[in-house]
Symmetry: C2
DNA sequence: GGTGAAAATTTCGAAGG
DNA sequence: CCTTCGAAATTTTCACC
């Protein structure tokens, strides 16, 4: 959503307990504050205060439910590499806005190197992918689009590896 | 984690209200059941029962906190394409186990086509990526590994687009 | 920062249409 | 499958180390 450069400055120092809290909450955010406190060695009030602070500081972005892709009929994951025809600011903005608005797009990165953009797209079936693909190539001019289809999801996590220090 | 083929059979039919609940909970799982009920047009008990059922059926996998990658010092995202040297079952198992165990790996798919595996990896800096890379290539024999570095995260969501029907 | 307990909410289940 | 109602549990606040 926002430029990485904007976020470098405002890093609060996280101590060991904060990091433990983040590790726990990234795995299971349905635990009670008392239970989290137990696991990190804190009673519930200080644990609650730390969680509030981590949320206020934007370290914790939100709490969400994770849904099984296959159980709701979204059987296909595709990694899409895009090379742009045009490297102007206006083109980028238009492309970024168009792609960001597509609900099939789970992740969307501007890349260094040969590939300009990388997308992870989730759709129900090949027909739905074709609809997406046509939508993508008609949104803005592109030089090259490569679609790579996933056969098997071996690992997928949302929990970042919280650095030790 | 599990093979896609195993999950095709056991699809429960989700009605409009279930889909609305999933849409809401994928965006914000910190809402009270009463609030969710309001948004989907239900009082709290039936809403709560539906949520319980969605969890029991594995449609909702878990509730987690999402953490800001940059705020915890993980500045680098890398898409890694791997071509395998060996296509035996034993090799695959060893590779899958080794890569799944690496905390830097957020996503790991077996692919169709020219690339055999695709990984999304998150690390603190280039030095940490180098450590990861060496770990990866020393785990099992690989034919080719291509690392593509993200410059900017334009979109990243965990909320799947819940199909209309 | 931390503790402990009271006040405010929320969850979860019983009874019933 | 929904509604209302209430007991139990949890979250959140507060007075005090």
């Amino acid at each position: 959503m926002s430029d990485a450069a904007l976020q470098i400055a405002e890093n609060r120092r996280l101590d060991t307990i904060d990091r433990k809290i983040l590790t726990v909450l990234q795995e299971d955010a349905s635990l009670s504050v008392a239970e989290i406190g137990d696991r990190v060695g804190l009673s519930s009030t200080p644990c609650w205060k730390r969680i509030q602070r981590l949320e206020a500081d934007g370290v914790i972005l939100r709490r969400v439910a994770l849904v099984d892709q296959n159980k709701i009929g979204l059987g296909i994951s595709v990694f899409v590499s895009v090379e742009s025809a045009d490297h102007s600011e206006a083109w980028l903005r238009k492309f970024a806005d168009a792609v960001s608005a597509m609900p099939e797009v789970m992740e969307f990165y501007r890349m260094a190197g040969d590939v300009d953009y990388m997308l992870r797209v989730v759709v129900a079936d090949m027909q739905a992918y074709d609809v997406f693909y046509k939508k993508l190539i008609s949104a803005v001019p592109l030089k090259n689009v490569t679609s790579r289809f996933a056969m098997e999801k071996i690992k997928s996590v949302t929990a970042l590896p919280v650095p030790a220090a």
